[in-house]
C-alpha cells in the first residue's frame, strides 16, 4: 500500500503542470467572481462577458500569469511550497494507514491464534460434540474488519487527490485576500518589461479593463506625475531593486492625487528582469495633512522667532526706558550740587579778583551754565516723554512774548545782527496758553538762529492761520486736549466754574451762524481780531444745569503760526530729517564749531506737539532757515452785554489810546550795536560797559532816552561806582539843563520822578504818560519815538538798545514780605550784596498797606505767613491792579490809609507789580497755586544769591 501511495504522489507531481493551470479559471471564475476579471487570451467569450457585466476591478492577463508562475522564481517557489505541504499531508496519511494496518494484522494474528486454540478445543468438542458459536462470531468480526479496511482504503483513495487539496488552499488564500482587499484603497498591478499592464487590481475602477491591460501608464493617463511614475518604474526595473516613491498626479481622470508607489522588479528563473510588481496607495489626505502640519510648524517657528524678536525689542525698550529714567534721575541729582558750584562761582566773581582769575572764573561759570542747561534740557525731555509735563494755561500777550524774547536775545547778542519781530494785526491782544513753554520754544529757536547766523537778521513772524489739516484729522484727540486744557484754564484762572464741552465747528458758514453776532459787536471793540480764521468753540450751557449768572463770553480757538527765520548758514537737505532727533546736529563739525547739545530742537518739537501743534523747518543752505510752528490758542472774548462793568484790561485798551498802541504794536526791531560790540559784553562786566556805551552818542541822541540814561547813571552814582561817577560828570557837562533839573527832582521825589523828563516833540506827551506807568516799557516807547523822529534813527540806533537796557536797569523798588526774622536778615543782606535795597514787612496785611503807600516794582512774597498769607495778599494786590480800588482788601478787613502824596494817588493802578513767591517746598502744585493766585514766578527757600539774581534778572528782562 505504501508503494501505491508513493506512486500516487509521484503521479500528482507529474500532473501538477497540467492540473494547476486548468484550475485557475474555474476557481476565479466561480468563487472570486466578485473581484477578479480573468482574460483568457483568445479565449472564452463567456468569461469576458461575465467580466464586463460585473465590472470587476481586477484585470489579469491570464496567459501572462501562467507564464509568470512558470518562469519566475517566485512562481516556482510558490508551487514548491504548495507541493511540500501536500507531501507532508500525504506522508501523514501514509503513516496513519500503516498504523491502522499494523493494528489490523495484529488483530488477525490474535484471531488466528484464537482459531487454533478453538480448533484444538473443537477437536475436543468434536470428540465431545462441542459448541460452534465462537467461531462464527470471529468470522463475522473478521468480515467487519475486512469491510472497514476496504472502506478506509477507499477513503484514502478519495482523500489523497492533491488537486482538490490545493484548490482548497488556494480558495482559502483567495478568500483571505478578498477579505483584506475588499475596501483597501490600493492599486495592485503587474507590468511587463515594456511596462504594459498585465494585471491590475483597483478598488475604485475608473477604466474598463480593455483600457488598461496591454497599455502603459503614459498611454492611459495624461497629466503631471504620469511620466514621473513611469520613469520611476523603469528605474526600478533597471536597478533591479525594489523602491518606494511618492508621486503626485494631476490627471483629468481623477484630479489631483498623491500616491505612494511601491515597485518591485520581477525576475525570471534565469535572473532576468521580466517586469515589475506595482502597488500604489492613495495618500492625498495624508500628504495634505502633512503639508498642513509642516506649514503649521513653519508658522510656529516664524511665530516663535517673532516672539523672540519682540521680547528682545521689549527688553531693549525697557532698558532704554530705564536708562532714560536713570538719566533723568541722575540729571536731577547732578543739578543740585552743580547749581551749588555755579552759584558759589558767581559769588566768587563778586569778590576782588585779578584779571586772570576773573577769566578763569568766567570760563568756569559759563561751562557750569552750559552743563546746567544740558541737564535741564534732559529733564525737560524726559518729562515730556514720560507725560509728566503739565501744561499750564494762562493769559498772555503774544506781542509781549515776542518782544521779550527778542530783547533777551539782543541783550546777549555779540554779533552784528538785526533782530526783528512782526506780529500781524489779526493776532489777538491776549491769548491763553502755556506762556512759559511757548517762550521756551521761541527762545530756543531764536538763540539757535542767532547761533548759526553771522550776518543779516533773525526775526519772528506771527500771524493767524486757518485750522491746519493735521488738527482736523486729530480732531477727537485735540478735542480732548482742548477740553482738558480748558478745564485747567478755568480752574487756574478762577474765572469760570463751568465746564465747556467744546465742539469746534469746521465749516465757515456754521461758524458764522452762531459766531456772527458776537463778532459784529466785538468788531467795534477788538478791531484787531481776525474773525475769518477763528474756529469758534460753542459753549454748551444747556449741558450743565447751573447756568446762573455766567458771564456770556465765547471761547474760541485761534491758530497762530510763528516763523523764526534767519539769514544764516542754513541746513543741508540731507540733515533735515534728523534735525529734530535728540543729540543730533547737522554734523560733528558743526557741533565742534557751534557747540550746543543737540537737544534744543528735540525739546521744541516735543513741546509743540504736546500743545497740539506742529513744528516744521524749511531751509536753504547758505541762505537761511525758517522754523515754523503752528499752535492753537484759546481766546476769551468778553461778550457785549456785560460791557458796563467790564473793567478788565481789554476794555482799557480801547479807552486809552496810548496803551492800545502799546498792546497792538506789531513791529519790533533791534539793530546791531555798532559801539556795543566793541565792548563785547560778557556777564559781570556788562553793566558798566553799557553805561559807557550810552554816553558817546549822548550829544546827538534824543532828549528823552538821554534823560533817562543820565538819571540811571546818577542813580548808580549813589552806589559808589567810580567808573560811572566819572561818566556822570561827563553827562552833566554835555547834556541839557533839563537833566540837571531832573536829577534834582529825582532826589526829591524818589522813584516816580525819574519818569518825568521834558520832551521836545509831539509825541512826548504820550510817551511821558506811559513812562509814568512803567519803567520797563520804555524800550517800546523809544521804538515808537523812533517812528516819530525817523531822522534820528540812523544816528541813535547804536545807543538805543543800551538806553533801553539802562531803563530796565534802573533800581527797582523792592518789597520783602516775610515773617521770619532770620530769613529777612539773610535775604536783605543778600539783596544788599547784589546792590539793591528793599523795604521789609512781616505779613500780608502790612504788605497791602505798604503797597497802598508806595509803588513797588517787585515784591518778594513769603507764601506761608501769619495774619494773611502770601497767596491771599497777592490776590488783593492783583484785584487792586485790575479794578483800581481796594474794595477787596476792605472786604478782608484792611482799612485803606489816606494817600500820602497827590501824584501817587492819581497813578492809575495799571502797572502790574512783579510778585515773586517764596516757597518752602518746590513741588509743582505749590508753584501752580502761586501762579493761579497771580504770582509771576517763585523762588524756593532758602534763598541763595543765585536764585535771587535769577529772579531779578527775570524781572529786568
Amino acid at each position: 500500500m505504501g508503494c501505491e501511495m508513493e506512486l500516487e504522489s509521484e503521479c500528482i507531481e507529474d500532473m501538477e503542470v497540467e492540473v494547476l493551470p486548468s484550475m485557475w479559471p474555474e476557481d476565479i471564475g466561480t468563487d472570486a467572481g466578485k473581484q477578479f476579471n480573468i482574460e483568457k487570451p483568445g479565449g472564452d467569450q463567456d468569461m469576458l462577458e461575465e467580466v464586463t457585466i460585473m465590472e470587476e476591478p481586477t484585470i489579469a492577463d491570464f496567459q501572462r500569469l501562467m507564464e509568470l508562475t512558470n518562469y519566475t522564481d517566485k512562481g516556482s517557489s510558490q508551487l514548491a511550497y504548495l507541493m511540500k505541504h501536500w507531501e507532508y499531508k500525504q506522508a501523514n496519511a501514509v503513516r496513519l494507514l500503516r498504523e491502522e494496518l499494523d493494528i489490523l494484522s495484529r488483530q488477525r494474528e490474535e484471531v488466528e491464534q484464537r482459531r487454533l486454540e478453538l480448533l484444538q478445543e473443537n477437536r475436543f468438542e468434536e470428540d465431545y460434540g462441542g459448541d460452534k458459536r465462537p467461531l462464527e462470531a470471529s468470522v463475522q468480526r473478521e468480515q467487519t474488519l475486512m469491510d472497514k479496511l476496504q472502506e478506509s482504503i477507499e477513503t484514502i483513495e478519495r482523500q489523497s487527490s492533491p488537486v482538490e487539496e490545493l484548490s482548497q488552499i488556494l480558495k482559502r488564500a483567495d478568500n483571505f485576500l478578498h477579505f483584506i482587499l475588499q475596501n483597501a484603497p490600493v492599486v495592485i498591478g503587474h507590468q511587463d518589461k515594456e511596462l504594459r499592464y498585465r494585471f491590475i487590481y483597483n478598488h475604485y475602477p475608473r477604466l474598463q479593463e480593455e483600457d488598461i491591460i496591454g497599455k502603459t501608464d503614459v498611454e492611459i493617463f495624461t497629466g503631471s506625475g504620469v511620466k514621473e511614475s513611469q520613469d520611476f518604474k523603469r528605474e526600478v526595473m533597471e536597478k533591479g531593486l525594489p523602491a518606494k516613491k511618492e508621486i503626485t498626479f494631476e490627471t483629468d481622470l481623477f484630479g489631483s492625487k498623491t500616491f505612494l508607489i511601491y515597485v518591485e522588479p520581477v525576475f525570471s528563473k534565469a535572473g532576468e528582469t521580466i517586469g515589475i510588481n506595482y502597488m500604489g496607495m492613495e495618500i492625498t489626505d495624508q500628504v495634505r495633512k502633512r503639508e498642513r502640519m509642516a506649514k503649521l510648524r513653519e508658522e510656529i517657528a516664524v511665530q516663535k522667532a517673532k516672539e523672540t524678536e519682540l521680547n528682545k525689542t521689549i527688553h531693549i525698550t525697557e532698558e532704554t526706558m530705564r536708562a532714560k529714567q536713570m538719566l533723568a534721575t541722575m540729571s536731577h541729582e547732578i543739578r543740585s550740587p552743580l547749581s551749588g558750584v555755579v552759584s558759589m562761582a558767581e559769588i566768587l566773581s563778586t569778590t576782588k579778583l585779578d584779571r586772570e582769575q576773573r577769566q578763569l572764573l568766567d570760563v568756569m561759570i559759563s561751562s557750569g551754565d552750559l552743563v546746567l542747561q544740558l541737564i535741564n534740557d534732559i529733564l525737560d525731555l524726559s518729562k515730556v516723554e514720560s507725560g509728566a509735563m503739565k501744561l499750564e494755561a494762562t493769559k498772555f500777550r503774544p506781542r509781549e512774548v515776542v518782544k521779550h524774547v527778542l530783547q533777551t536775545a539782543a541783550a546777549s547778542l555779540q554779533k552784528m545782527l538785526t533782530l526783528e519781530g512782526n506780529v500781524a494785526d489779526d493776532i489777538p491782544v491776549e491769548v491763553i496758553g502755556d506762556v512759559l513753554r511757548i517762550r521756551q520754544i521761541l527762545t530756543n529757536l531764536v538763540s539757535n538762529a542767532v547761533k548759526f547766523t553771522h550776518e543779516g537778521k533773525v526775526g519772528i513772524n506771527l500771524y493767524v492761520v486757518a485750522e491746519p489739516p493735521f488738527a482736523k484729522t486729530e480732531e477727537c484727540n485735540n478735542n480732548q486736549k482742548i477740553n482738558s486744557s480748558e478745564q485747567s484754564t478755568i480752574c487756574s484762572n478762577g474765572v469760570k466754574d463751568h465746564r465747556y464741552p467744546s465742539t469746534p465747528s469746521k465749516s465757515g458758514s456754521d461758524q458764522n451762524h452762531h459766531g456772527g453776532q458776537n463778532h459784529n459787536e466785538h468788531n467795534a471793540q477788538n478791531h484787531g481780531f481776525n474773525n475769518e480764521f477763528r474756529s469758534s468753540v460753542k459753549s454748551d450751557y444747556s449741558m450743565n444745569g447751573d447756568t446762573e449768572e455766567e458771564n456770556h463770553s465765547t471761547e474760541t480757538t485761534v491758530w497762530i503760526r510763528c516763523d523764526v527765520y534767519d539769514t544764516g548758514i542754513g541746513i543741508p537737505e540731507k540733515a533735515i530729517p534728523t534735525l529734530f532727533k535728540r543729540y543730533m546736529q547737522v554734523s560733528a563739525d558743526h557741533a565742534r564749531k557751534y557747540g550746543g547739545t543737540g537737544l534744543g530742537l528735540a525739546i521744541c518739537k516735543q513741546l509743540v506737539e504736546l500743545m497740539g501743534g506742529r513744528l516744521t523747518v524749511s531751509s536753504k543752505e547758505h541762505v537761511g532757515s525758517t522754523f515754523t510752528f503752528i499752535l492753537p490758542y484759546k481766546v476769551s472774548i468778553p461778550s457785549s452785554d456785560e460791557n458796563s462793568d467790564d473793567t478788565d484790561e481789554l476794555s482799557d485798551v480801547d479807552n486809552n489810546d496810548a496803551v492800545s498802541d502799546d498792546l497792538t504794536e506789531g513791529f519790533f526791531q533791534f539793530q546791531p550795536r555798532t559801539l556795543g560790540s566793541l565792548f563785547s559784553s560778557n556777564g559781570s562786566t556788562r553793566r558798566t560797559s553799557h553805561k559807557f556805551n550810552g554816553f558817546p552818542s549822548n550829544p546827538f541822541a534824543l532828549p528823552s532816552p538821554n534823560g533817562l540814561v543820565s538819571k540811571a547813571v546818577t542813580n548808580s552814582v549813589e552806589d559808589s561806582s567810580s567808573v560811572v561817577a566819572d561818566a556822570s560828570d561827563l553827562t552833566e557837562s554835555t547834556s541839557s539843563s533839563s537833566t540837571e533839573k531832573d536829577r534834582h527832582q529825582n532826589s526829591e521825589s524818589g522813584v516816580k520822578s525819574r519818569h518825568e523828563p521834558s520832551f521836545c516833540d509831539d509825541s512826548s506827551k504820550e510817551v511821558n504818560n506811559e513812562l509814568r506807568n512803567s519803567s520797563n516799557k520804555c524800550e517800546d516807547l523809544i521804538m515808537k519815538k523812533e517812528d516819530a523822529n525817523s531822522r534820528c534813527v540812523s544816528r541813535c540806533s547804536g545807543s538805543r538798545e543800551e538806553d533801553s537796557k539802562e531803563c530796565c536797569r534802573l533800581k527797582p523798588k523792592i518789597l520783602l514780605v516775610e515773617d521770619n526774622k532770620i530769613n529777612v536778615m539773610v535775604t536783605q543782606s543778600m539783596m544788599k550784596r547784589l546792590g539793591y535795597s528793599m523795604d521789609v514787612v512781616n505779613n500780608g496785611v502790612e504788605a497791602v498797606k505798604a503797597v497802598q503807600r508806595h509803588t513797588y516794582d517787585i515784591i518778594l512774597m513769603d507764601v506761608f505767613m501769619p495774619v494773611m498769607n502770601g497767596l491771599q495778599t497777592t490776590k488783593l494786590i492783583r484785584s487792586y491792579e485790575e479794578t483800581g480800588n481796594w474794595d477787596a482788601a476792605k472786604d478782608s478787613g484792611i482799612e485803606q490809609i489816606q494817600q500820602i502824596s497827590d501824584y501817587e494817588g492819581c497813578v492809575p493802578p495799571r502797572k502790574r507789580i512783579h510778585i515773586i513767591a517764596m516757597t518752602a517746598n518746590t513741588v509743582t502744585e505749590s508753584a501752580e497755586e502761586c501762579y493761579a493766585n497771580g504770582m509771576d514766578s517763585f523762588v524756593s527757600k532758602p534763598v541763595t544769591f543765585q536764585k535771587l539774581k535769577e529772579c531779578l534778572e527775570q524781572y529786568l528782562r
Binding site: I347, K821, I822, V826, S829, R833, P866, P942, V943, F945
Partner: protein, 154 residues
Amino acid sequence: MEVGQMQRQWLDYTRSLFIEGFLDGQFLQLEQLQDDNNPDFVVEVVSLFFQDSHKLLNDLTIALDQKSVDFKKIDAHVHQLKGSSSSIGAQRVKNCCIAFRNFCEEQNTDACLKCLHQVKQECCLVKNKLETLFRLEQQIMAAGGSIPMMELSF
C-alpha cells in the same frame, strides 16, 4: 597758637560740621554775606536764630503740654523754625522740623513730643558747635588772621 594752625583747625572743624550734616551750603551763603562792612553778620544772624528758636521751642513745649493740642499752632511754630534753620543752614535742625511737621499733620502727639525733644537736642548741639567755631574765628581774628573761607571746598 599760631595763626596758620588755627586757620587749619578752623577749616577742619568747619569741614567736620558739614560732613556730619550739622551745616549745609546755606551756611556758606551766610559766610559770603559777611564782609568788612558787616563783620559780625554770621554771629548776629546765628544769635538771632538761637534767640528765636529758644522762644519757639518754649512755645512748642507749652503748646504740646496742653490737654487739647492745637496742632495748627504747633505747625506754624515748626514752620517758623524750619524756615529759619534752613536759612542759616542748620541742616539737622531743619530735617528734624520736616519730620516734626509730618507728625503734626498726623496729629500724633507722642511722636511730636519726641520730635520736639530731638529738635531741642539738635539746636543745643549745633549751638555748641557754632559757638566753638565762632570762638575759634575770634581767636584767629584776634591773632590778626583772616577766616580762610575760600579754602572751604566741597
